[in-house]
């Protein structure tokens, strides 16, 4: 495609690291670029948002990925520039066997704070609700907490899982569980729950009807330059944004 | 011999290690309560022969045995390789002293108590009396009586040998297999052990490997020489 033309004649290595949620898109983009131009080498590492920001700030890598906004302190110490190239909705999910498929924000708050502790109270089976949460440092969690739960309390007895995949695995296996995942991850193994009547789907996130969403960010130290700039430009190009969509995120362009 | 029934008998007993034949169609019938000496040059298979009677060769290497081996245990003849005679009972009834002394790495007292411990005998008094009695019998009590708690592996060669004899006597076995039991003993020690064996004659069948013609003369009722896989009676 024409969007790859800018890489012609370029040489060198581009290092990317950080949040795991970004990897699928980055990987696919890197594959296209490296196939078009074998002289280029693009490495994509995980490690988590914090590590990504630290590494890009220290100059170890060229692009750092974060699933959350960099904190003000991080931005000011390192002089980081943020690029938001996709939007990711965060939807509440339950096991497909669960009959409860609609919730209001208030119910959600009560569930996560532990006030409602049995599915019976919501019209489901007479079993205790198993809460699945993510850790505070996770980007998915912070947006869900801010926009989904409206910063309500979350019970400390909630199980905490480490990633979207782990959340999916947990919910898919637990008929009495409830949790939240990135909308792109919702498939047949888990069932989305409509929140205040709005289903967590890509369309609703795109249209803005579904409010619980976050950006996926790439950061560079200072303004993006050289290969890093080319790469980020590519992500923002039509081809790149197609990739974003293909991997289950909402494109920004 | 009506008064002394057969205690050990073999029929067509052959044995080989890997491909090497050691014993060849040995037929044997030994009366109970006798002392039988076995002689023969080094490496001919004497120790192997002994280990056949308590099935100990099975623990190492790739031996192969053919034929029948019967022992008189608890008053009746048992084919130890055919009948489902329990291995542990067999070995408790057939005592063995090895060519190289092998005390266990524990105190002298524990070494002696070991066979009783295996029989679930817990009576401290009994164990002590019995141990002392056996030590006295092998004339070791004077030498080590004051350090029964010392590690048995620290004993001198001859002391270890006598300790092993004492240990093998703790259970009052019906059959004893002795592999050169006096090899590291001086003449006097040797004579004392012989006297002990004399005492046991009549109640215990003793099969004993030895190298000394004079020892054979002194105590053996019968003597076989092992040559080319066969036993030849010499006494």
């Amino acid at each position: 495609a024409g969007d790859l033309d800018s890489f012609k004649g370029q040489k060198g290595t581009l290092k990317i690291a950080g949040g795991t949620a970004h990897i699928p898109v980055m990987k696919e983009a890197a594959k296209l670029i490296m196939q078009a131009n074998p002289d280029l080498r693009i490495t994509i590492a995980g490690g988590g948002s914090g590590v990504g920001i630290k590494q890009v700030g220290e100059g170890l890598i060229d692009i750092g990925n974060a699933g959350r906004k960099a904190t003000d302190k991080e931005v000011s110490t390192y002089g980081l520039t943020m690029y938001k190239w996709a939007v990711d909705g965060v939807g509440v999910v339950v096991n497909p066997k669960n009959t409860v498929t609609k919730l209001t924000t208030a119910q959600l708050q009560d569930i996560f704070s532990g006030k409602i502790s049995n599915w019976k109270e919501l019209g489901g089976a007479d079993r205790a609700i198993n809460l699945y949460d993510r850790d505070a440092a996770s980007g998915t969690r912070s947006v869900f907490w801010k926009k989904g739960l409206q910063k309500a309390n979350v019970s400390t007895t909630a199980n905490i899982v480490a990633s979207n995949g782990a959340m999916k695995t947990a919910i898919a296996g637990d008929p009495y569980g409830i949790g939240f995942v990135s909308v792109g991850h919702i498939d047949a193994s888990i069932a989305p729950v409509t929140l205040d009547g709005i289903a967590p789907s890509l369309e609703n996130v795109k249209s803005g009807a579904f409010k619980v969403s976050r950006g996926l960010y790439s950061l560079t130290k200072g303004e993006a330059q050289g290969l890093a700039k080319l790469f980020i430009d590519f992500i923002f190009s039509p081809t790149g944004q197609d990739l974003v969509k293909a991997k289950g995120f909402v494109a920004v362009q | 011999m009506p008064t002394f029934p057969t205690a050990i008998s073999t029929q067509q007993l052959s044995f080989r290690y890997g491909g090497v034949p050691i014993l060849h169609e040995v037929d044997l019938a030994l009366s109970a309560g006798k002392i039988i000496a076995i002689t023969g040059p080094s490496g001919i298979g004497k120790s192997t022969l002994l280990s056949i009677f308590n099935r100990l060769w099975e623990e190492n290497g790739d031996g192969r045995l053919q034929g029948q081996v019967k022992l008189r245990l608890d008053g009746s003849m048992v084919d130890i390789y055919q009948d489902a005679y329990p291995l542990d009972t067999l070995r408790r009834k057939v005592g063995m002293v090895f060519q190289t002394p092998n005390p266990l790495p524990m105190s002298i007292a524990k070494n002696l108590a070991f066979p009783l411990r295996l029989m679930h005998i817990k009576d401290k008094g009994l164990i002590t009396t019995k141990s002392e009695e056996m030590l006295r019998k092998v004339h070791l009590l004077d030498e080590v009586g004051d350090r029964l708690q010392a590690n048995a592996t620290q004993l001198s060669g001859g002391q270890q040998q006598r300790l092993c004899i004492a240990r093998s006597l703790m259970l009052e076995q019906e059959i004893l297999l002795l592999d050169e039991p006096t090899s590291s003993l001086d003449r006097q020690g040797c004579l004392r052990i012989e006297a002990l064996l004399h005492e046991l004659r009549g109640t215990t069948t003793i099969l004993m490997v030895t190298h000394y013609q004079d020892q054979v003369q002194r105590i053996a009722d019968l003597c076989y020489e092992l040559r080319e896989g066969r036993l030849h009676q010499t006494l």
Binding site: G50, E74 | P103, P115, N151
Partner: protein, 282 residues
């Protein structure tokens, strides 16, 4: 060489101490030993994690020990020869099974079982994690156990065999006491592995920050805590607690090991062993 790695260890401990220093500076160090972890409320208590780590480790060891001893005995003593070989190969193979795989398989197989039949709740619990952890550390222990049993000299075995010991008697009266040092090392390394494992507890223990009342509840270990917090801002307070966690973890390892060694010293077997083995050599 040993010195070198010693220095390296000390360097790592120092690094953790230095990086964890802001906590002490802020006078928050002792606040660590409170029960609430809530970074938004500036509460950084890691007591639940400490307890979680201890419980999981001890439980895993409890489950793993009989299993390892059993396997080692089978492989060295009780089983017929072909099975022995099979067992030995299996064990070595298990040493290379990636932790992730255990965690993965357990999530799909063990967790539902636990949920439906054993402990109810979500199935993610300290118990679940420690069961899997027990399997994970078993090869470490078994390999050391087997080596220990194998190294008992032939002549001792012959002596015991000829006295008519049954396999179990041989094991308890001769082999285990003789193999004792190897057993101990195996246990300690297994313990270290259990202490230091991240993924199993992260995937299976549930990771809730509440102080668990029983092992059937969800709980978090220090290691899982580190893994979860690592995504946070590098200079934030939360992140600083990671290093405190690392330090505390090492501290606990030391305590556990020292107490095991002390038990060994006071245990009769240990004393008996000391009589004749390594310590008495000049």
């Amino acid at each position: 060489m040993a010195m070198g790695s010693g220095l390296l260890l000390i360097a790592i401990l120092c690094m953790m101490a230095v990086l964890g220093w802001p906590l002490v500076e802020n006078g928050r160090f002792f606040a660590l030993f409170s029960t609430t972890w809530s970074p938004h409320a500036q509460a950084y208590g890691i007591l639940p994690m400490i307890l979680g780590s201890l419980r999981i480790t001890v439980l895993a060891l409890l489950f793993s020990l009989p299993m390892s001893i059993g396997t080692a005995c089978l492989a060295e003593l009780l089983a017929p020869r072909p099975l022995r070989r099979l067992l030995l190969v299996t064990i070595r193979f298990m040493a290379g099974v990636p932790t992730v795989v255990y965690g993965f398989v357990a999530v799909f197989l063990l967790v539902p079982l636990m949920r439906e039949y054993l402990i109810f709740g979500s199935g993610f619990s300290i118990l679940t994690a420690s069961l899997v952890l027990a399997v994970l550390i078993a090869p470490t222990m078994i390999i050391f156990f087997v080596n220990g049993l194998q190294s008992v000299p032939r002549s001792y075995c012959h002596a015991v065999d000829s006295l008519g010991a049954r396999p179990m008697q041989k094991l308890i009266y001769l082999l285990l006491p003789q193999a004792y040092p190897s057993l101990l090392i195996g246990v300690i390394l297994g313990l270290g592995r259990a202490m230091g494992d991240t993924l199993i507890s992260l995937m299976l223990a549930g990771n809730s920050v509440a102080l668990p009342e029983s092992v059937a509840e969800s709980g978090r270990t220090l290691t899982a805590h580190i893994a979860l917090v690592i995504a946070a801002d590098f200079s934030s307070m939360e992140f600083t607690t990671i290093f405190a966690c690392g330090l505390i973890l090492s501290l606990f390892t030391v305590c556990l090991i020292v107490s095991i060694r002390l038990l060994d010293r006071f245990g009769t077997r240990g004393a008996q062993h000391r009589e004749m083995s390594t310590e008495s050599r000049p």
